[in-house]
């Protein structure tokens, strides 16, 4: 067996180009005759467009054309990809989302005009010359108030700021209420899941191109899923059939969810390129990214947990307001519903669970999936309320969790919130956590911190997530307007090398390294013989892209299926050449052997025969060696784990320092443990960012106060500790061929409650026993203020 197959901690091959400046990002693409686009964006959160005068701008040097919403009158609305039905079975309210605002502007940054010019500087100058009269309206910002506000509507035509009022599972509502009413103890917690700005290193870029000679459009864009953009933009917005539209997403510098969605700028440059018959390029400034990239999280929640006198969970009820922002972004409606409500059981046997979510329109940028997407919001409230309950009942926080764990022999486990966990072992990850976090040594470390005047606290929590999304028939029933399979074409070349054209998209995940490891193990060849192609609708099969920790579990499974077809065909060729039955052919270490004999042929001999079919069963087998497979998962995968955080709180300033962070994860089988550790590190870093630092703040007028790095605090190296991570607890997924579960989001899902639990623990140990919760981010100012109250 050659080195570097499944399980090898191979360094990422793509890093050579990323780290030496050789990556080719969308902004590196410059086409002959290219023009530049600058958007004219609203400076008010809510206003009626009285008039737009583009005449001055149009007369400026270098200006090719100035566009307004009127130019898009015949163009479709940016679609939402998931239709939610409310508690009464009625479809959600779904207002139009124009490419350029018409009639009203609805958030600071909402584009109502765009200038296309010869240079970016000329476009920018002309954009300032667009004169618009906009009558400012009161901004709808507070989502709780917005629900009952009938006089001030983000979208007048739908008559309400409430997108939907969702109950899940509605049939559980009464039984849950009864169990809570009758319980020995009920712990209630009100909290905010803070609004975040994704801040991918690479801002969004879009280059539209049009070939008049064959009426073909091309969009180069910073996307996690080029086929999805092709479908949404082509079919719903611009009316371009797929064979006349190519979408290319080359190297992408981080997405974290924010580059899943179809953005108006993409439709604009594609449309404008056709209008002016020249390529049109738009590059987001960092300030535009703050204002216009879809934000994440932003929930206001009340959760109640009912327990018996021994701390067993009896019922759970949660009521959440979820901010949609001004328009429905691609997956926005699914995040607080099916990616959130389905996870409220956590790792525990809670017999009655009811989830209510009110999705609300506000005059803020749209909110959509951000690393974890719904699952961090579920995990945070659940693991915080459990911690509070443990404290109220005087039960150790680890013990109360153990008492309620679903046991290893109880899988598959059907939760009260629709999903069925296939496998897991939560006791094992908790045991592993206690070991790797050295929880036995906590008291000693606490005393050492106290000697330095610091309050040390320990926070522990579990998490579970549903990823590897998703079974198409199930999500279809739930309102998804797309399937969630994945595809792969495996092309074997004559001399034995392989190219995998995958519908998954890599923007930091390391597919170019990990995917070849799988094929290397299946065939018994060196991974360097396999190359990965992704990100271009022209040369990859229809794929749904990368998000929801799905690439390996779904895209990898498609690749395995296609490779299995390749191997089956190659065995037939080998059988012909070796004059044996294909049932008797074995493939091992890159050699085809007739079982029980020393007759063999190398992998390269067979691949050559497939393309030079001189001695070949042409009567029964086509030449060539290329196969495509589509894989549709039969269930979600359920990665789970246990996390521990230790913090030191400065009692004088409220400053929180992360002293240590340990993560014991069960991701099922591991293809590349180095990449997995890196994914967990990055996820925890983002979770620490949410817990301590990051916060998108709009003022009452809808101005974004945290609109630059001067005020939006991203975690830096000095904010995070050296992580202790372990993924040796493995219960392989039972329903995909690799037994993998996905690891991309776990860190961001599991870490925020660990940090907050640790801070609350530190404050209690320091005598501040009145503090039951502090909303994220736990800035020094907030922690200090919490300590002052009594």
């Amino acid at each position: 067996m050659p080195d570097g197959g499944i399980g090898a901690p191979t360094k990422r091959r793509e890093d050579l180009r990323f780290l030496t400046g050789k990556g080719r990002y969308t902004d590196d693409i410059n086409l002959r005759g290219q023009s530049y686009c600058v958007f004219v964006r609203s400076q008010v959160a809510h206003g009626r467009i009285v008039s737009i005068d583009t005449s001055k701008a149009a007369a400026m040097p270098g200006v090719i054309q100035v566009f307004t919403g009127d130019d898009f009158a015949e163009v479709g609305s940016i679609p939402c990809g998931w239709q939610i039905h409310d508690r009464k079975g009625e479809p959600m309210l779904e207002p139009a989302h124009p490419v350029l605002a018409r009639g009203k502007v609805r958030y600071v940054g909402d584009a109502y005009a765009a200038v296309v010019a010869e240079t970016e500087a000329q476009a920018r100058d002309a954009a300032e010359a667009v004169e618009a009269e906009i009558e400012e309206l009161p901004a709808v910002i507070d989502m709780v108030k917005a629900v009952s506000d009938k006089s001030n509507l983000v979208h007048d035509e739908i008559g309400s700021n409430l997108c939907y009022d969702w109950g899940f599972v509605e049939e559980n509502r009464e039984a849950t209420a009864k169990a809570i009413d009758e319980a020995y103890h009920v712990t209630t917690l009100e909290l905010v899941n803070n609004r975040l700005i994704p801040n991918a290193m690479e801002p969004r870029v879009a280059v539209g191109d049009y070939d008049e000679t064959n009426d073909h459009s091309t969009l180069h864009t910073t996307s996690q899923n080029p086929h999805v953009i092709r479908l949404l933009m082509g079919a719903f917005v611009l009316g371009i059939p797929e064979h006349k539209l190519r979408v290319v997403a080359p190297d992408v510098g981080g997405g974290f969810g924010s580059k899943i969605f179809h953005y108006a700028e993409e439709a604009f440059v594609t449309f404008a390129a056709k209008q002016i018959k020249r390529p049109v390029k738009w590059t987001s400034t960092r300030s535009e990214a703050f204002m216009t990239d879809a934000h994440g999280r932003d929930h206001v929640t009340k959760i109640e947990l009912a327990l018996d006198n021994e701390g067993h969970f009896l019922a759970l009820r949660t009521n959440t307001y979820a901010n949609m922002g001004a328009y429905l972004s691609t997956f926005s409606t699914s995040v607080p519903t099916y990616l959130h409500g389905t996870l409220m059981a956590g790792n525990y046997k809670t017999p009655h669970i009811y989830v209510n979510v009110k999705a609300v329109f506000t005059n803020t940028v749209p909110v959509d999936a951000y690393r974890g997407a719904g699952r961090p919001e579920a995990t945070f409230q659940l693991e915080r309320v459990i911690d509070k309950a443990a404290r109220e009942m005087g039960i150790d926080p680890i013990e109360i969790r153990r008492r309620n764990f679903i046991q290893p022999d109880e899988f598959p486990y059907q939760t009260p919130v629709a999903v069925s966990y296939d496998t897991g072992n939560y006791q094992a990850t908790m045991d592993k956590l206690i070991e790797i976090a050295d929880l036995d040594g906590f008291e000693e470390r606490r005393a050492a911190s106290a000697a330095r005047g610091k309050l040390r606290g320990l926070g522990v929590n579990c998490y579970i997530e549903a990823c590897g999304i998703a079974p198409s028939n199930l999500v279809g029933q739930l309102g998804a307007r797309a399937g969630l399979y994945e595809s792969a074409t495996v092309r074997v070349n004559a001399t034995g090398g392989l190219v995998v054209m995958t519908g998954s998209h890599s923007h930091g995940q390391g597919h170019e390294t990990a995917f070849p490891q799988v094929i290397a193990s299946m065939i018994g060849i060196d991974p360097s013989m396999v190359e990965i192609v992704h990100g271009d609708t022209a040369n990859t099969p229809m794929g749904m892209g990368t998000y929801g920790s799905r690439s390996l579990a779904v895209g990898g499974s498609a690749m395995v299926k296609a490779t299995e077809k390749i191997i089956a065909k190659a065995k037939k060729i080998a059988a012909h050449i070796l004059e044996a039955s294909d049932q008797d052919i074995e493939l091992k270490d890159g050699m085809f052997t007739v079982k029980g004999t020393d007759k063999s042929k190398a992998w390269g001999d067979i691949t050559l025969a497939a393309y030079v079919p001189h001695n070949y069963p042409l009567e029964s087998l086509e030449p060539g060696l290329e196969e495509t497979a589509f894989y549709d998962p039969s269930n979600f995968t359920y990665p789970a784990g246990a996390y521990a955080c230790e913090v030191e709180v400065d009692p004088e300033t409220g400053q929180v320092e992360i002293a240590s962070f340990a993560a014991a994860d069960d991701f099922g089988n591991i293809i590349n443990p180095l990449i997995v550790s890196g994914q967990v590190h990055g996820g925890i870093g983002q979770g620490i960012g949410q817990a301590l630092l990051e916060q998108a703040v709009y003022d009452d007028n809808g101005q974004l106060l945290s609109g630059s790095y001067m005020d939006y605090a991203m975690p830096r190296a000095s904010d995070v500790p050296s992580y202790v991570v372990d993924h040796s607890c493995q219960t392989p997924c039972t329903h995909n061929p690799l037994g993998v579960k996905g690891c991309g989001e776990a860190g961001a899902i599991g870490s925020p409650p660990a940090v907050v639990n640790a801070v609350i623990d530190a404050l209690h140990r320091g005598g501040h026993t009145h503090v039951s919760h502090i909303n994220m981010p736990l800035s020094p100012s907030r922690v200090w203020a919490a300590m002052q109250k009594s």
Binding site: T653, Q695, S706
Partner: protein, 264 residues
């Protein structure tokens, strides 16, 4: 950014002449001005870069035992070259921003800008330094006149800052988590004839001296003396998404205590 002209004089005299033209503005390290230009929030017709003027760079001991730092001296140079003479000030310089900022930003630029959360105004005011310009000398107590406002006239260039060297000093800084400017920071300088305490990051009026702390510490230079004080009033302190006025007022006291504890 809008188009502008740039001049790169090599003498103070030439720079002063260049700044006389309409719409001209001096450019120091550029860490405030360049982002402002990039955001199109300013449109000077001409920038006069001071970075090529060697006569306003460097750290030296003056004849009167004051530490003299040229207005065009970078933070990195001060951190390295002032350490043997005035460790408290050198440390302040070493804590500004990150290496890129410290290798570009200058003391003159920082003082002329007088950002209410900048570090140098605290060190300068607490030291009772003298700001020397192409035209005159200005005492630190007269120089800072509210946020982003100084005694400098139009076109006046800071050529040097003269620091009396205290017996002991320390700069205690609490970071604003996003910008890493001071959320509140305090420079304490103990001289033979009294203690000066300057606070940055806290007040809506910019850097200020905390008179009560100076009085208490001048008679008893100890953390206990600070502990016995009430925090200054929250009224007039900055309130923003990173901290309330009350929190900043509290931090003034905490940071003063820490500066005293660590003064060396």
């Amino acid at each position: 950014m809008y188009a502008f002209e740039i001049e790169t004089p090599s003498t103070v005299q030439d720079a002063v002449a260049a700044l006389k033209s309409e719409g001209a503005q001096a450019l120091g390290g550029g860490h405030t001005l360049i982002p402002t230009l990039k955001s199109r929030l300013a449109a000077p017709e001409k920038l006069v870069a001071l970075s090529g003027i060697d006569e306003i760079k460097g750290v030296r001991m003056g004849d009167d035992s004051r530490l003299c730092i040229g207005g065009g001296t970078t933070h990195a140079t001060v951190a390295a070259e002032a350490a043997g003479h005035y460790p408290g000030l050198a440390r302040l310089a070493s804590l500004i921003g990150d290496p890129a900022v410290r290798n570009r930003g200058t003391i003159g630029g920082s003082l002329a800008n007088n950002d209410p959360s900048a570090c140098y105004p605290a060190g300068t005011l607490a030291s009772g330094a003298t700001i020397v310009t192409n035209a005159r000398e200005i005492a630190a107590d007269d120089f800072f006149q509210g946020m982003f406002t100084t005694a400098l006239d139009e076109g006046e260039i800071i050529t040097e800052v003269k620091f009396p060297i205290p017996e002991k000093s320390f700069y205690a800084k609490m970071l604003q988590p996003a910008s890493r400017f001071p959320l509140t920071a305090v420079f304490v300088a103990k001289f033979a004839d009294g203690v000066r305490v300057a606070v940055t990051g806290a007040s809506e009026s910019g850097v200020f001296r905390w008179a009560e702390a100076e009085a208490a510490l001048s008679s008893d230079f100890s953390k206990a003396a600070v502990d016995a004080l009430s925090a200054p009033p929250a009224d007039g302190m900055i309130g923003d998404i990173h901290g309330t006025p009350e929190y900043r007022a509290h931090l003034v006291k905490v940071m003063t205590g820490r500066a005293v504890e660590n003064a060396a």
